[in-house]
C-alpha cells in the first residue's frame, strides 16, 4: 500500500468526497412514508365523555412554562410558544420540526362545573379536562289537592 502512496491519497480524497455527498443526502428516507406537515400546530382533538369535555393537544418539546390555558366564559384558549434552536455548533441537514407561536380557542357548548378543571402534560401531550355541570335531577312536582 505504501508503494502507491499517491494514488492512495487520491482514493482517500475520493472517498471523502463520497462521504460528503452521502452526508449531503444523509438521511434519505429508507421507506416511502414521507413526512407531510400538518397545517396547524399543535395538533388538537376534543372529546366528549359522559361527565367531561377533554381537549388533547400534541405539544412535543414544551413544558408547563411554555403553555397557557385560559377559560373565559365559554371560550377555552390554549396558547404557547415552541422555540426551535439549532444546537450549538451543529450544522443543519434537515429541519422538519417547526417553531410555533400559537393561540387556539375553543367554544365550549356545555355548561361546565366551576371546579375540577385539570390539565396534565405527559410525554409531550397536554390533556385538559373540563368537567360538565351535573345535569339537574328530574324533579317530581307535587300536586296539591284544592
Amino acid at each position: 500500500m505504501l508503494g502507491y502512496a499517491f494514488s492512495d491519497f487520491e482514493r482517500t480524497f475520493n472517498e471523502m468526497d463520497q462521504l460528503r455527498q452521502r452526508l449531503g443526502r444523509v438521511f434519505g428516507d429508507v421507506d416511502t412514508r414521507e413526512f407531510s406537515p400538518d397545517t396547524t400546530w399543535p395538533r388538537t382533538s376534543v372529546y366528549e365523555t359522559k361527565d367531561a369535555l377533554v381537549l388533547v393537544a400534541e405539544v412535543p418539546g414544551l413544558n408547563e412554562k411554555d403553555l397557557e390555558i385560559t377559560l373565559k366564559e365559554d371560550v377555552l384558549t390554549l396558547a404557547g410558544e415552541r422555540k426551535l434552536n439549532v444546537p450549538d455548533g451543529y450544522q443543519v441537514h434537515r429541519q422538519e420540526r417547526r417553531p410555533a407561536r400559537f393561540s387556539r380557542s375553543f367554544t365550549v357548548a356545555h355548561r361546565l362545573a366551576s371546579e375540577g378543571l385539570t390539565a396534565e402534560l405527559k410525554d409531550g401531550v397536554l390533556t385538559v379536562r373540563l368537567p360538565k355541570q351535573p345535569e339537574e335531577q328530574p324533579r317530581k312536582i307535587q300536586i296539591k289537592a284544592g
Binding site: 428516507d29 421507506d31 388538537t44 376534543v46 372529546y47 365523555t49 388533547v56 400534541e58 420540526r97 410525554d123
Partner: protein
C-alpha cells in the same frame, strides 16, 4: 362494518377503538425529524408526542436506522373535533458511513426523541499540528 356510520349513530357514544374501525385508519405516521451534524456526531431529533418511553425502539440494521414508537390512545369519548388514529410512529434513514454504530445512543424527553450517531475516529476531522523549525 359495511355500514359503519349508521351503526355509529344508532349506538351513540362508542369508544375510540370501535369508532376507529369505521374510519380510514392511518395506523402509522412519519414523525417530523431534524438532522444536525457537528464534528463529533450526527444528531437526529424526532417529535413523537404520546409515545411511552418503554415503547420506543431505535434499531440499526444493514446501515439503516429505524425509529419506532407506540402511541397511547387518546381519552375515550365521542370525538367532537380533530382526532387522530395513528397508533405507531415509524421512520427510517440511511446511516451515514463512518458512524460508530456501537455507540449510538438515544433519549426521550417531553415527547421528543434524540438519537446520537457518533462518528468513528476515522471520519472525524483532525487538525494537524504544524511543527516549526526552531
Amino acid at each position: 362494518m359495511d355500514n359503519g356510520m349508521s351503526t355509529q349513530e344508532r349506538n351513540g357514544v362508542q369508544s375510540n377503538r370501535e369508532r376507529a374501525e369505521f374510519r380510514p385508519i392511518r395506523s402509522t405516521s412519519a414523525p417530523p425529524v431534524d438532522v444536525y451534524e457537528n464534528d463529533e456526531e450526527v444528531l437526529v431529533v424526532a417529535d413523537v408526542p404520546g409515545a411511552r418511553p418503554d415503547s420506543v425502539v431505535v434499531k440499526v440494521e444493514k446501515e439503516e436506522l429505524y425509529i419506532t414508537a407506540r402511541r397511547e390512545a387518546d381519552a375515550d369519548g365521542r370525538l367532537l373535533a380533530g382526532g387522530r388514529w395513528e397508533s405507531e410512529y415509524r421512520r427510517s434513514f440511511v446511516v451515514p458511513r463512518g458512524t460508530d454504530t456501537a455507540r449510538i445512543s438515544a433519549e426521550l424527553s417531553h415527547g421528543v426523541l434524540q438519537v446520537h450517531l457518533p462518528k468513528s475516529p476515522a471520519v472525524k476531522p483532525r487538525v494537524i499540528e504544524i511543527k516549526t523549525a526552531s
